[in-house]
Symmetry: D2
């Protein structure tokens, strides 16, 4: 089959590899759509601490079942059979480490993920454990279904943040994740949501999606709302932005660190203020018990998928697609291996 | 001034009473709009355990400051002065009982409330403690502002329920409160919200406000969604409905008892099921730390006030207004004493 | 090997069965100690809706590894090897159902458990998935380690209840579970814990373990503390007791239904009171992310294991051991198959 | 009456001032015992941002009612009368600011407190609002009751931290507050609690109170427990300690910033780690809905008051008492104005 392969950091090609075949508890999937995200760029750049090379990337995907592993019961719980359409939660867990055993499977000490440590979906076919497959309702396209994974990260962020009805929000970063978080916040209890980004085209998208106000800096937002916001979310991963985001938290409010900063980045915070204003800071990492809710949110129309899905390219154009992402063009760029 | 007066249960009249004058820490308010709710009917019927007679009812109101009490600083925190427009949280708390001292002021052991135990706002003027007044932004009408109180009850309900992003909802009852809860749920994390009512005109309103599906019985809803809903809210107060609502809770899900059943009503539940499916049942009573959030939610456009505000009548038509409410016509009926 | 076998409801014998051998991802365990609990009586009586016959019961156990399955890595995460001492979480989860995928594995729709649907530990040997084994520290005896399972149920109860520092408690039922919950409450934030049981010998045990007060009825407890308790726990499973426990909840307080009532039992509650006093009712079922915490609590000395471990009998005396349990003699009765 | 007076920063004396008389809603209290804490040292040093001079300090106190204000009903809710013994929550709230109105009264924007902005209890008499008085049970001494205030701060810390049954703890700082937090943690769900302090005499006290292990640095604690602790509490207020405390948080764990760092102090944290390990950081400030729970915890024997109460000096020795505190001698030093 054809696949995008990163042989070593920096070296990407689209080439031919042997067709995969499903293990006993696996499904073989014909990939319908696979999104590109920052993680893919990190794997290519060689600054992912977890990636293994060579690797076929691609972890945001949906497709059609073309074969069932030998252990997969014909009357399986999900009614999956050849022809079924599915989305896949790409993170695998060991089930044995302390994190897995205490309900924090997303923090598993033995990280493995399709598209990061195992062959991913930037290919015609991919194998996946049936335990990670979700059957899709008929009215969801495979392109929409390939959005479930990023949405499920944003849902995990909302679960960690645990906002209350009426909270005011500030979201820093209006990339794909910021725009998803914006929608979840607007339909997640917010009375109003301000959005900050340096890229004004993205702010325009935020306004179209319902942002109450948009700004090119957090200082500007604070000028309008000097006592700050109940809930502040960083969706940039830029350390100085996170530091400013901290200043924008209202007394008794919360800061969600959703963006992925560099490992060596540091933020400088006032511990007096955390104490004196009872500020809470929380982190959110990938997907935890949030894939099904994300699927439901998309089906329920909470996410405006049409606004999120911009370019869709064939597998052979994978390098060009990466360039779109690097340049920040559009929102979610996807590869459709069947094109 | 003119006021509606309930002299004793069953006896209501619109008559003249002396103008009130504000105590030292009070404001005198010219009432702009005052909503009618079930509590007013209970006070009239004589089945409110807390009402004192004779009483001027009216606890859902907004108006204009016409005089300041002698202790009210001219540079008060809210910048209130003669002419300011305000909404008022009607529940007063003693500050000394165990509930007040442990953060449950809505459960104060010495219940007092404007319009229930103290003269209310079905009158030209009413006095209110400044501590209970909220300054209104210019773009909010007094009719909209008189909705803050019922919205703040619904917000308290959402805070008690504490739903998570992606939860599925079932709401029983599409009266004023059910329709408010519907809107808060749709913008409070829900992936979809089913609504049940026996009154199909109200179901039509629920659909217009975004309900995913509507039904005339909970059984019908369960036929479509046999494993139940993550969050079920009773907004009828009808005991058999609450019992059915319990059956509609999904494993690990929650039931919010928001409706006010009769004191002597009983529901029969399976304790095995509560254990075996880890069901949670919670109650929500009036307003707790939710008036400002409600104001913010209305200002932020989360509540469609136009759909909620139906009849508006002059004070002299108070009895006619009560009839509208009793007949379930429209949604929120208000008295505008200035008409 | 020798094992206790329930061939059909009511028919129990100790007999010889073939030695089990571990599957690829399993361990073979020589059982050191196995506790008896109400579930075993239910399996014997034939009123367990989930048991399969014939069955070797026994799900509260610890022992020594005597063989490793073919897939178990020699350098496994837990450093388990032949001779390692382990306790086992007996509940197996499917990993694919909606409950498993949303973090409620204890509510798995495909219930399977060692000692209930699969051969258990009332035998010389038992096989267990390595994913369910926990390595024991040297200072824990196998008898103490066989307590981890019931403690982990009680810990799940505390996690569901989520009490706050300073809460007052009432616990109904001073059997094994009530006495464990008493200890967890006393070291779980309680300012005081009252205990109710009809059996005064058990109340004496509760007092020795630190109960602030003990009573033979909930009414008596309420006579001393008329406004009720912040946290009330039913650990009897008796429907009329659960109803009374509800009356003992303070305004804004919580009721944990931990006891297992009969499937057809019903409790009659006032929905007005749940609303008006903002009462919360929660259920707690088995073990969720609580086995490791239970192990840690026992190692930390939070549980007085000496007070909990009463009779220890050889496997051949299994019937006699069941009688002790039925008669409510002592606290935890264990079988030591190696005796 | 005699009182300790701080006329200006640095200038303290014990002198005579006019006897206070209670306002309408106040009580006049004869002070029985008043503790000294770091706040008093800050007021004396002039580095309290909120103190007003001249000031009679003293906010941790209990005493006897000697007169009732004119509004105080003889049949008041607390049954307070001349001769009643009371403890007092010293923080006053405005009731009108956004924090007061959303349930965060401890973060009131108009800070006022007995002993900080209003005359305190380092005097023979002090006046207090009845709303802040708590009646004492007979078996509590006034010295013990003067501990309720610091305990209620620690209880607020535990409420903010919201630990779960079985959590492992590390507490940095074994001063009065660290030792109180230690006791609340040991009886607040902890399976084990490690304590770190540079002062080994204090570590000895921590061990006597039940600390599982003690260390003179956080690094040592991490050497024993390399994966860190579920709950880490800073009770030093020292910025470098808080930074290290952050490193001691286990994946998915929490850090409570309880110690009061200097306003200008900064800590440097890895935002990547907060994200990647889903770390939570929370602050806790003074008393919120925690005075009654603290009273209950002391009455319930959860706090070993005998170990906490060291020196007790007469009012005339206030300067000597301050020296004891500055030198870190003993634990809680109190002034008994009646000595
Ligand atoms: N927690 C999780 O589970 C999770 C999951 C997925 C992604 N993430 C992280 O979430 C973050 C956002 O992801 P994404 O896919 O949305 O990335 P993205 O498309 O690159 O969006 C980031 C946005 O932040 C803007 N930005 C950069 N510097 C800024 C500044 N100084 N002030 C304001 N805005 C600034 C960027 O503008 P320019 O484009 O002009 O630079 C861009 O619009 C990333 O760090 C990603 O790694 C986290
Ligand atoms: N918790 C709080 O703080 C709070 C605050 C305000 C109100 N409440 C309570 O909330 C409830 C709703 O208030 P509301 O103002 O919205 O009252 P409402 O206008 O009377 O609405 C109740 C709705 O439930 C419907 N209903 C009655 N029986 C039903 C049944 N068997 N099945 C389905 N629907 C049924 C009613 O239909 P019909 O009109 O045809 O009977 C009506 O549409 C009341 O109990 C009220 O007391 C609680
Ligand atoms: N939620 C979970 O995960 C979980 C886990 C394990 C067990 N459980 C359940 O927890 C409950 C307790 O288990 P256990 O092993 O401790 O059982 P147990 O030893 O039978 O203890 C129950 C205690 O309640 C007492 N009791 C019975 N009727 C009473 C009444 N009317 N008033 C006061 N006390 C009364 C019993 O006294 P007598 O002995 O005199 O009747 C007995 O001392 C059971 O229902 C069990 O099924 C739940
Ligand atoms: N959040 C609140 O509501 C609240 C309420 C009250 C107090 N506080 C704060 O809580 C903190 C503790 O109060 P406290 O009364 O217990 O103070 P304390 O008696 O001074 O105790 C602090 C302890 O930390 C030790 N320490 C100092 N530097 C250290 C280091 N590098 N490593 C380890 N230990 C170190 C001190 O040792 P040495 O004595 O040898 O320096 C002392 O034993 C203070 O910051 C106080 O302001 C907060
Ligand atoms: Zn793992
Ligand atoms: Zn009160
Ligand atoms: Zn399952
Ligand atoms: Zn305030």
């Amino acid at each position: 089959m054809r696949a995008a392969i990163i042989d070593t950091p920096g070296c990407i090609r689209v080439g031919s590899v042997p067709d995969p075949s499903p293990g006993p508890d696996e499904l073989l999937i014909r990939v319908g759509a696979c999104g590109i995200c920052g993680t893919d760029l990190h794997i290519l750049a060689g600054d992912s601490p977890v990636a293994r090379y060579p690797i076929i990337p691609g972890h945001e995907f949906a497709g059609e079942v073309v074969a069932l592993g030998s252990n997969v019961a014909l009357d399986n719980d999900l009614n999956l059979t050849v022809g079924s359409r599915v989305a896949i939660e790409p993170n695998l867990t060991c089930g044995q480490c302390e994190m897995c055993r205490t309900g924090h499977e997303n923090l598993c000490l033995h990280y493995r993920a399709i598209g990061v440590t195992l062959s991913g979906a930037m290919a015609e076919y991919v194998t996946v454990p049936i335990a990670k497959a979700y059957a899709l309702p008929d009215n969801l396209t495979l392109r929409e279904a390939a959005l479930i994974e990023p949405v499920s990260c944003a849902v995990r962020g909302m679960h960690s943040l645990n906002p209350r009805s009426g909270d005011t929000f500030l979201i820093a970063g209006a990339g794909t994740m910021g725009l998803l978080l914006l929608q979840l916040a607007l339909k997640g209890g917010a009375s109003r949501v301000a959005v900050v980004d340096v890229n004004t085209r993205r702010l325009a998208r935020a306004e179209n999606l319902g942002a109450s106000r948009t700004y090119t800096s957090i200082q500007q937002a604070l000028a309008d709302e000097p006592s700050g916001f109940n809930c502040v979310i960083d969706a940039t991963g830029v350390a100085p932005v996170i530091e400013q985001a901290f200043t924008a938290v209202k007394r008794s409010g919360k800061l969600l660190i959703f963006g992925v900063a560099a490992d060596e980045a540091r933020i400088s915070l006032s511990p007096f203020r955390i104490y004196n204003e009872e500020i809470t800071i929380v982190g959110s990492m990938a997907v935890l018990a949030s894939f099904q809710p994300a699927l439901d949110l998309i089906c329920g129309g909470v996410i405006d998928t049409q606004s999120m899905l911009t370019a869709a390219l064939p597998l052979e154009d994978f390098t060009r697609a990466l360039d779109l992402v690097k340049r920040g063009e559009g929102v979610k760029t996807q590869i459709l291996p069947g094109l």
